[in-house]
């Protein structure tokens, strides 16, 4: 075991006491990670839509400006949607945080290297795009600081959290997309959501 952060401990820490935060997870390991921390009606784990997690978060953040929106995704997923960093920076959503769990691997397909294993700096890209707060995290103290910043909600935030490339048992959320959508909307918007 390396001395790197462990992804499920990071996610458990970030989601403990989450209150009414709205959580979107990119496909693959981040979806298993948030489910490992506890399946929740205000979780929207993606089963596909690679490259789209941050943008789902933006649409949600613009629709719900008083709620904190947290996107948890992987380095491979974020690399597929780099343009969205520019789109998000221009919109300046104060209530959106994007946390990339960066294990430098495509975990679901056999642990092949992503570009972050070869020097590509995602936090630097987010900063260059103009996202208000960007940070790189690789210690438990850094995770605690990240958590404070997420829930303070002062401007869009992007964090690249370096984590160990460990192989973990999958923890699957429901996979019926309509169920995930409807339970999320009912928990957020109330029973009338079904009649919108």
């Amino acid at each position: 075991m390396s001395n790197k952060l462990r992804r499920r401990e990071v996610v458990e820490t970030l989601l403990a006491g989450r209150g009414d935060a709205l959580v979107v997870a990119g496909l693959g390991a981040p979806s298993w990670d948030i489910t490992h921390a506890g399946d929740h009606a205000l979780n929207f784990p993606l089963w596909g839509a690679m490259g789209g997690a941050a943008m789902v978060g933006l649409g949600l953040a613009l629709a719900q400006p008083k709620k904190r929106v947290l996107v948890i995704t992987g380095d491979g997923e974020m690399l597929m949607g780099l343009g969205s960093l520019a789109t998000i920076a221009v919109q300046r959503p104060r209530n959106l945080a994007i946390v990339v769990l960066d294990n430098e691997r495509y975990g679901e397909t056999g642990m092949q290297e992503t570009h972050t294993a070869n020097g590509v700096d995602l936090a630097g890209m987010a900063r260059a795009a103009g996202i208000a707060q960007t940070l790189r995290v690789n210690t438990p103290a850094g995770v605690s600081r990240l958590k404070r910043l997420i829930y303070a909600g002062k401007g869009a935030l992007f964090a690249q959290v370096k984590v160990d490339a460990e192989k973990l048992p999958l923890v699957l959320p429901p996979r019926d997309g309509a169920l995930l959508k409807n339970r999320f909307r009912a928990a957020l918007l109330g029973p009338d959501a079904a009649h919108q």
Binding site: L22, V24, F44, L46, W47, G48, A49, M50, G51, G52, A53, A54, M55, V56, G57, L58, G59, L60, A61, L62, A63, Q64, K67, G81, G83, S84, A86, T87, V90, Q91, G177, A178, L180, K181, F184, R185, L188, L189, A193, Q196
Partner: protein
């Protein structure tokens, strides 16, 4: 003169339709055919225009919008449809309502050969993904087609694309643009 006035009013009618339906998030990759509608949406205080770097961002954005209780619309040209294909799997799998207003290129009277393959494939690839596709080729039918597409998307929770034909929009005249630059 009267015909010209009627032609220039269709973006205003589409804007009024979107506003009346409570559309809040307007996701765009610009197209000349949508230029006036985009300006109208930008002036509308009840709408948030979100410029995208690629059309697939709009499919994801509007999924998030709906999760949060907002209606949206995606404005783009037909070349952008190709960029959306895999992301549309989410709209289908989760039954997200999605209204796409697609101005056609590679269509009636096109000048640019590079626009033709995607323009010609637009309807087929959308339908292959399970998107319902409607089409308007005249100004007279456009508002009613748009109204029907909007209701179909939001009443039945599915992606619906309305293709706005180049016969209606007019093809871009590249030869003219080599001689002068104007609006």
């Amino acid at each position: 003169m009267k015909k010209k006035k009627a032609e220039s009013a269709w973006p205003d009618e589409l804007h009024a339709l979107l506003a009346d339906a409570g559309v809040r998030q307007v996701a765009i990759v610009p197209d000349a055919g949508h230029a006036r509608l985009i300006k109208l949406c930008e002036k509308d205080q009840t709408m948030r225009v979100v410029r995208l770097t690629s059309e697939q961002e709009g499919v994801a954005l509007l999924a998030g919008a709906w999760l949060g209780g907002d209606k949206g619309v995606l404005l783009m040209q037909s070349s952008g449809v190709g960029n959306c294909i895999n992301m549309l799997a989410m709209s289908i799998a989760c039954q997200f309502p999605l209204l796409m207003l697609v101005t056609m290129r590679g269509d009636h009277g096109e000048f640019n050969p590079a626009q033709v393959p995607m323009g010609n494939a637009t309807q087929a690839v959308l339908e292959a993904m399970g998107v319902l596709v409607k089409r308007a080729d005249s100004v007279a039918e456009l508002p009613e087609m748009a109204s029907g597409a909007l209701r179909l998307a939001f009443n039945t929770f599915r992606p619906v694309a309305l293709l706005i034909g180049q016969r209606l929009l007019g093809a871009k005249d590249f030869r003219k643009l080599t001689k002068s630059v104007s609006e």
